[in-house]
């Protein structure tokens, strides 16, 4: 896949790293309670920020939130899912590609295609769904199982998200991707 991107003229511009950590509440021993949990996502393109997701609540915070969690000692990191890949620029497109690691296993390859002209806050990211689908299937595919290509995403299950597309939306998509594998 990387060779194909490079053959098309894609140039590697940086690394791509996403970490999704599951934190569980520290409960006393011999208790039957179900621990509270939340996910913490860090994106290497937002080095000073992290995104915390618990049920339908998602918030953006400075990365020092991790330090607060350590100091309060109330939650403990349990599982880490990580993408360690590369970012390529190909004309108006940015392609991010990398393996998904869960513990020591590789769970799959994640590919993200971004169409940079569609970057105004007023436009919906899904207004260029067709264009991106063609790009993905024509240049990176074909994919026998079309369900792996996620061309749309229903955010209606998360009413607390802001109206404009933000990194919070992105984080939700990554969390759902990691949960699905």
């Amino acid at each position: 896949m990387v060779k194909r991107i490079e053959f098309l003229g894609g140039t590697k511009v940086s690394t791509w790293n996403i970490v999704c950590s599951l934190y569980l509440e520290r409960l006393p021993n011999n208790t039957n309670q179900i621990p509270r949990e939340f996910h913490l996502i860090t994106l290497d393109e937002r080095p000073k920020k992290c995104f915390m997701i618990s049920h339908e609540a998602i918030v953006e915070s400075d990365k020092e939130m991790i330090s607060i969690l350590e100091k309060t000692d109330s939650f403990r990191k349990r599982q880490v899912t990580e993408i360690n890949g590369s970012k390529y620029e190909l004309g108006d497109f940015i392609i991010r590609i990398g393996p998904i690691f869960f513990r020591t296993e590789t769970k799959g390859i994640a590919i993200e295609v971004e169409y940079t002209p569609c970057s105004k806050t007023s436009t919906s990211p899904f207004s260029c769904t067709k264009l991106l689908s063609e790009f993905i299937n024509g240049n990176l595919g074909p994919f026998p199982d079309q369900s792996v290509v996620q061309a749309t995403f229903d955010f209606s299950a998360y009413p607390k998200l802001p109206n404009n597309y933000t990194d919070l939306h992105t984080s939700y998509q990554y969390l759902n991707l990691f949960k699905s594998i």
């Binding site: 509440e25 400075d62 020092e64 000692d73 971004e114 940079t116 990194d167 939306h169 992105t170 990554y174």
Partner: protein, 248 residues
């Protein structure tokens, strides 16, 4: 009580930069150096050293004195909500023999939301300043929902209004506290006099020099206000309350 630190620690929450199909991110690049600096900041403990007092002399003369000593004056106004955890952790959530726990403060100021972790006060009898570990972060405005999901409950809340005077290294807050009414608006003053807090930040090695610095300033202000180290051990639960809390 630390806008000085917030200004250093907080950065504006990023806006929307791009849209993607599967997932999208920003377009900024980070260097390894930035990452290393950030990691070192995450592992560095920052402590707030402070002295406290209540202003009983005329405010105008005190302000004149403070203006002569500090560089800048700023109006401050915010709503602060204090959350306590319901999670039984092994962490240092309570100061020994005191009713001062470590707390998470959520502050709404000028449509921004900040969160501050304040650790239990350090017991350092040879240092004449109150020392608490602090972590300041900027968060999005729905952070309190997440806190509730994580098992934190709101303990109390209040409004703070006043002035912040600052120099390069320290800040003085002259503020009053107001009750929060049921509809969320400002109520009456909690105490009639203004409270003064003189504070600076320090690393783990600098408590002594920070304390000396604070006390030097406090001496200049002595004719108007006595700024003292607030000893948290004076806040001890009375025996019936202590028994109750132990039973719970």
């Amino acid at each position: 009580m630390n806008r000085h630190q917030y200004q250093n620690a907080g950065s504006p929450i990023a806006g929307v930069n791009s849209h993607t199909m599967m997932a999208g991110g920003g377009v900024s690049n980070s260097s390894n150096q930035d990452q290393n600096t950030l990691n070192s900041l995450l592992t560095t403990n920052i402590y707030e050293c402070s002295l406290h007092g209540i202003l009983t002399t005329p405010q105008s003369t005190f302000i004149q004195r403070v203006k002569g000593m500090m560089r800048s004056e700023q109006l401050v106004s915010w709503k602060e909500m204090v959350y306590k955890t319901t999670i039984q952790s092994a962490g240092p959530s309570w100061a020994e023999g005191s009713i001062m726990p470590s707390e998470i403060h959520v502050r709404y100021e000028r449509n921004n939301c900040f969160v501050r972790y304040i650790g239990t006060p350090q017991i350092k009898d040879n240092i004449n300043a109150m020392i608490r570990n602090v972590v300041d972060i900027k968060v999005s405005d729905r952070f309190f929902i997440l806190l509730s999901n994580l098992g934190y409950v709101k303990d109390y809340e209040y409004f703070v209004d006043g002035y912040c005077y600052s120099t390069y290294s320290l800040a003085l807050y002259l503020v009053n506290h107001r009750r929060v009414l049921q509809d969320g608006t400002k109520g009456e003053l909690l105490i009639k006099n203004n409270m003064v807090e003189l504070q600076c930040l320090s690393g783990e090695e600098g408590f002594m020099s920070a304390s000396e610095h604070l006390n030097t300033y406090a001496e200049y202000l002595y004719p108007f206000i006595e700024l003292i180290k607030f000893d948290h051990r004076n806040l001890i639960l009375d025996p019936p309350s202590l028994q109750q809390s132990q039973q719970q």
